[in-house]
């Protein structure tokens, strides 16, 4: 059974070149293959998540090399949950891309989509820091292609910014890895955790620099202020399905922070004291504030959604930076919510673009297909702004509850509550301009410049909204499960034991190596 762990990485990796080589001129075959691949991915991910749900940690050693010498893939409850989230999101995004015809506006959409999935899922499953870097690069290379899919000058310019920013991030990642290897002599996460704990208090300079560099890299991925500047342009200019898929990419950064800073640099480690509460928390609070102010200030709907993604990532990081089991459980609940809500909103923005011809937040003739689009926008906005009854509200309650006993509770409560109000204003303003003020202009005889979106687009968006509703209805079970994951993260001994003590080739190295 343990071979199934690598299946979600191998499947897209094989499917993507097959799509390029065998079906490059047949969009129908590409769609069928890509859809079949993603459905299979959902099935495999569900099986893996079920397998890990009782706390079992499954290990896959590539070429059977024992842990610190070879690369390992580890499927524990956290990584399988993220893999499942990715594959389910990918299914609906792919349905939207097919339904709206975005995949046919440029070439190789489906191949790049599969490579992107391979990179994201690989980053979630790997148990080796350098391998994490490699999977980051895989997902980045695919995302460069997807980002400029369908071309256009504005998109190309945003693409240049996106690529350059991420190239600098990759370079920083390599500096961090070099520093870690120079200090500890290993890059396997479990092995690192043991060796970092052994470093004496007087020799922590190098490892502290490495820990901060690594945090910077993951903060770039997670678009934490002040490292968020790449996000608004690139997410707003990217094709809508791509932007919706990118909603999971910021979470890769959050996942990496959770993994590395619970396993390798746990909060009680003396070498990285102050990193979480002194640096991460204020940056996260500023992210929440800037994101929600951006929502209010945005002049176009796609920018508004991009800033709301920054704000919700800030919310995730606020509760993450507490590094308590309650905080991590709340963060994981909010990560699922914010991925689904962000993706749904990007797709809804595209529905508006299809029906209206532009995304400017100025009064214009009515949106074609307005009834359904407006309904979806209403639900999506409620979810993202955190109003009852949807999961955004429950997520914020969990965040507030987890931070209640923290010493910075006043700040957290103040920023979260005030910025929620600001974002509600922002979404209400956007919605009323888009859908209500338009009604008064019908009398002037202006003809709508858009067309009604296709039914499959609505199915995809409706599916994401349905998932959000399910995330709300089953909030008790979900939060119970994320609490269990947090418990597993704060008890890393079984993880290390599984990774390091499972026998394989080179299990018993010779003395003196």
């Amino acid at each position: 059974m343990s071979h199934w762990i690598i299946a979600p990485i191998v499947l897209p990796a094989l499917l993507a070149p097959f799509i390029v080589l065998a079906a490059r001129y047949h969009i129908g075959i590409q769609r069928a293959l890509s859809l079949a691949g993603v459905v299979a991915l959902v099935v495999i991910a569900t099986a893996l998540a079920l397998q890990a749900s009782d706390g079992t940690i499954t290990l896959y050693r590539l070429s059977d090399w024992a842990a610190p010498f070879g690369i390992v893939l580890v499927a524990d409850a956290l990584s399988t949950l993220m893999v499942l989230l990715t594959s389910v999101l990918a299914l609906f995004v792919l349905l939207y891309a097919i339904g709206s015809g975005w995949d046919n506006r440029g070439r190789h959409f489906h191949a790049l989509f599969q490579f992107q999935l391979m990179g994201i899922i690989g980053a979630f499953l790997t148990g080796d820091l350098f391998n994490l870097f490699v999977f980051f690069e895989v997902l980045l290379i695919a995302s460069y292609g997807l980002m400029i899919h369908a071309g256009g000058n504005a998109r190309m310019r945003a693409g240049v910014q996106y690529v350059l920013f991420n190239l600098i991030g990759s370079t920083l990642f390599l500096f961090a890895l070099g520093a870690i290897y120079a200090e500890t002599g290993t890059l396997n996460m479990a092995d690192l955790a043991q060796r970092v704990a052994l470093i004496g208090p007087e020799e922590t300079v190098g490892i502290r620099v490495a820990a901060v560099l690594l945090l910077l890299v993951f903060a770039i991925k997670a678009a934490l202020v002040p490292l968020h500047f790449w996000l608004p342009s690139s997410y707003a200019e990217a094709p809508a399905p791509v932007a919706a898929l990118f909603a999971i990419m910021t979470k890769v950064g959050a996942y990496a922070i959770i993994r590395v800073y619970t396993l390798i640099f746990p909060p009680e480690l003396a070498a990285t004291q102050g990193l979480h509460d002194l640096w991460l928390l204020p940056a996260a609070l500023v992210s929440v504030a800037i994101g929600m102010m951006g929502v209010l200030a945005a002049k176009k709907l796609d920018r508004l959604v991009a800033f709301s993604v920054i704000g919700s990532m800030g919310m995730v990081m606020v509760t993450l930076s507490l590094f308590t089991p309650e905080g991590i459980a709340a963060a994981l609940y909010y990560i699922i919510h914010s991925t689904l809500a962000g993706a749904a909103l990007f797709l809804i923005a595209d529905l508006v673009r299809t029906g209206r011809g532009s995304l400017d937040l100025t009064a214009q003739p009515p949106v074609a297909g307005a009834a359904l689009t407006a309904g979806f926008f209403f639900v999506g906005a409620i979810a993202m702004a955190g109003l009852p009854p949807l999961s955004g509200f429950l997520g914020k309650l969990l965040v507030l509850n987890a931070s209640f006993s923290a010493p910075q509770a006043v700040w957290i409560w103040g920023v979260v509550l005030v910025s929620s109000l600001v974002s509600i204003l922002g979404f209400a303003r956007a919605g009323s301009i888009l859908f209500w003020k338009a009604e008064s202009m019908t009398l002037e005889g202006a003809d709508p410049s858009g067309s009604v979106p296709r039914p499959l687009s609505y199915v995809a968006v409706g599916g994401l909204i349905g998932l959000l509703a399910a995330h709300t209805v089953f909030a008790g079970q979900m939060h119970g499960y994320t609490s269990k994951i947090a418990g597993q993260l704060f008890d890393p001994a079984p993880y290390m034991l599984k990774v390091l003590d499972t026998p394989g080739k080179l299990s018993q190295p010779k003395e003196g190596h």
Binding site: V134, Y144, V163, L167, G178, Y181, G294
Partner: protein, 118 residues
């Protein structure tokens, strides 16, 4: 030797950062290339500097070079080389399309980029 290698990494990084802050695609790409050279040398030295050490375990040899950073640096070189090629192509596409090689958003253009910098 340590001093030479360390100062080489430092000079490459400083030059790279200076060029990255130039805000035109060509100098920025050059700067990123310099940064990747610096990081490659840095990765190479992370296994300690040794001269004439054997990379593979053998009987009767006690002086080893660490082979892992060499593998890491190969991966890093391949990836950074490929990435540089990609960014050159995209940058060229953006320059030819809009006849402007600024990396940052220009304030005078009305094309929706003004609030991206808020």
């Amino acid at each position: 030797m340590e001093f030479l290698v360390a100062s080489a990494i430092g000079i490459l990084t400083a030059g790279g950062i200076y060029l990255v802050l130039r805000l035109r695609t060509f100098p920025v790409i050059l700067g990123i290339s310099l940064l990747t050279y610096a990081v490659n040398v840095f990765l190479f030295t992370s296994g300690r500097l040794t001269i004439a050490g054997a990379p593979i375990l053998r009987d009767g040899v006690t002086h080893y070079a660490d082979p892992l950073p060499q593998a890491l640096v190969l991966t890093a070189i391949v990836i950074s080389f490929g990435m540089t090629a990609v960014v050159v192509m995209i940058g060229l596409g953006a320059f030819l399309g809009s006849n402007d090689d600024h990396v940052d958003d220009q304030p005078e253009t009305e094309t929706a980029d003004a609030e991206g910098r808020s």
